[in-house]
Amino acid sequence: MPEKFDAIVVGAGPAGIACAYELAKAGVSVLLLERGEYPGSKNVMGGVLYRKMMEEVIPDFHKEAPLERPIVEQRFMMMDKSSAVTFSYKGLEWAQEPFNNFTVLRAKFDQWFAGKAVEKGALLVNETVVLECIVENGKVVGVRTDRPDGELRADVVVLADGVNSLLAKSLGFHKEFRPDEVALATMEILKLDKKLIEDRFNLEEGQGCTIELFGDATKGILGTGFLYTNKDTLSIGVGSLLSGLIKHKIKPYELMEYVKKHPMIRPYIQGAEPQEYLAHLIPEGGYRSIPKVAGAGVLVVGDAAQLVNAIHREGSNMAMTSGRIAAETILAAKEREDFSEESLDLYRQRLMSSFVGQDMKKYKDSTHHFDKFPQYFEQYIPMMNKAMSQMLTVDGSSKWEKQKKIWRDIGTAKQKFKIARDIYRAWKVMK
């Protein structure tokens, strides 16, 4: 007889671990299955971990978790070929408790986080791939793994198997994602002396900085790049929608090499030695791509449920919150002894009324909008760079003349109208 658990969580990332942690803490039997050698071995993100949502799972985690640096400054660089307009906010309120967010390296962090779930009583089994959910009478009753005698039973199976969730797909919860619903990101971890990092990024000891890159970082293709500071490494990466890569016939690693050589980036990473190369898909379809997230005996959390806010590069926080809400739903369902779809649908309702659902809804059209109208990245960012250059270059012409020239360079009345319309549209999809 296959062993039966109260819950089986498939995938040890932020969503799956948060869910397993909460379930184990409440004393129910939970099995956490991970295909990698250890949790984190296959997990990738740029590296920003948000304090608030993590704290809702493990209070005071920052005192013991393997974190890299608390982020005190966030910069946004609008890049052209050899220039950049940069906005930034630096606040020392972020340098002290309760902090805002941290950079992390997932291979270390996820291992630690899973260890906390195990401490609470979750059972962790690595190096095991779940092939399919076992469905009986329209209800998910367990999973079949790739191991001999690999069948396992549970009242609820939580699918935290990440972007492109094959398990949710095989249950018919979503179709194969389209190339404009997923981004492909590549990143490198570069080793650099601690002190040099702090000097180059204008940081006090131990503090961190993030730089988000727009425009020429992705050669004008819709997407973003990033450069984050870790303890003694930098994380640099670039990602863009698959549809954009296909349309422009560009390979992700070519974008990566381009960013690393970009004159606005090169000075930051000079002399840093590549340590790791990673690549991963990111669900960026937004609200409209969220699949069915609750069925009889099954819930879908994290990336598997497409819970990523691409505009604010948030994902791990949404993953954790979804995992936590899933756990609470399972505990309530267990009390009622009702694991039907109606009972578990409480998860969807609570998820959608939380910040996760609300933010997904707010930006529901944003990715699609910028994908449909490439001029923002292709034209307006270079235009902004040119305008700044003209305004700030002291060449003897009067400031009135400069303004006139900038205004003239934007183009005809028709083009100006188009820009105004695009600005209004962008505001509309983001508001």
């Binding site: 062993e3 099995l31 050698e37 059972l123 962790l124 089994v125 095991t128 793994t145 790739d146 191991r147 001999p148 005698d149 690999g150 069948e151 396992l152």
Partner: protein, 273 residues
């Protein structure tokens, strides 16, 4: 009932490990810790013998607390029990001190369940000596059988084992008394993908953990760095060979040139018909 103990070690994965260029020592933090590959075959052989003859398979290791992971790996392969001796007093041990500490632990294990057979991996991939197994055998006064690549028969009642020992040009068949100690080659078996039952058992399993004070009649002067006569006076990397010939051209041309060079070297083909 047959009782087999496999002695195992957690080692840094030397496939990935970086060397410190200044000291020529391994940067152990740079590589993940794994179960010594030879030892996984030792445990697998013990498990196979158990399925042939019945009995119990225990594993024993000496190491720092994280080495529990290596014991769990052995439970995944199918071992029944795991024992670990861990103590600062054991730190810095060479093969002599290690075999002494393990012997003391084996004697303690044997108090509850007499041991019929000890199996070790041929050697560890971090130390490469292959001395600990024979060291244990000598201390327990049992025959050490090294380079074993097949166990033909175990007979507990009549007290003998028949095994094959790998030689350079074949193998020899040996009949030994039991108990004895085998150190095994990798080709003795293939370690299969573990069953889900074993994975769950390993995830739940808590090994028996002993410190130096749990081992009776132990002579502390024979432990750890103090008990280790080995002195590492210097470590160096082998010099890179100089000279040689570099072949130019496309792959096909290079292969053709290489074949010509090899065919000229008649000594390479001595004995080949």
């Amino acid at each position: 009932m047959l009782h087999i103990v496999a002695c195992i070690k957690q080692v840094p994965d030397t496939k990935i490990i970086k060397m410190n260029p200044k000291t020529n020592t391994m940067d152990r933090a740079s590589a993940p810790a794994i179960l010594n590959p030879y030892d996984s075959h030792a445990v697998e052989e013990a498990v196979r013998l158990r399925s042939r003859y019945g009995g119990t398979v225990s594993v024993l290791t000496m190491g720092p607390p994280p080495a529990v992971k290596a014991i769990k790996k052995c439970i995944e392969i199918g071992a029944d029990e795991g024992y670990m001796i861990t103590d600062r007093a054991f730190a810095g041990a060479d093969t002599l001190a290690t075999s002494y500490a393990l012997t003391k632990a084996l004697q303690k294990i044997a108090e509850t369940r007499p041991i019929d057979l000890i199996i070790c991996g041929k050697m560890t991939i971090d130390g490469d000596t292959g001395q600990v197994g024979p060291g244990i055998a000598r201390r327990l006064d049992m025959p050490p059988l090294t380079s074993v690549n097949k166990v033909v028969e175990l007979n507990r009642e009549e007290g003998y084992a028949i095994v094959h020992r790998k030689l350079e040009d074949g193998y020899e068949v040996i009949r030994s008394t039991l108990p004895c100690l085998l150190s095994v080659e990798k080709e003795i078996n293939d370690v299969p993908y573990s069953t889900m039952t074993n994975m769950l058992r390993a995830a739940r399993y808590q090994p028996h953990i002993w410190s130096v004070n749990d081992l009776p009649d132990i002579d502390k002067t024979q432990l750890g760095l103090k008990g280790s006569p080995t002195i590492v006076s210097s470590v160096w990397a082998p010099e890179k060979p100089k000279g040689g010939t570099q072949l130019e051209g496309n792959p096909q041309e290079q292969v053709r040139q290489l074949i010509d060079i090899l065919l000229e070297r008649k000594e390479l083909f001595q004995g080949v018909t």
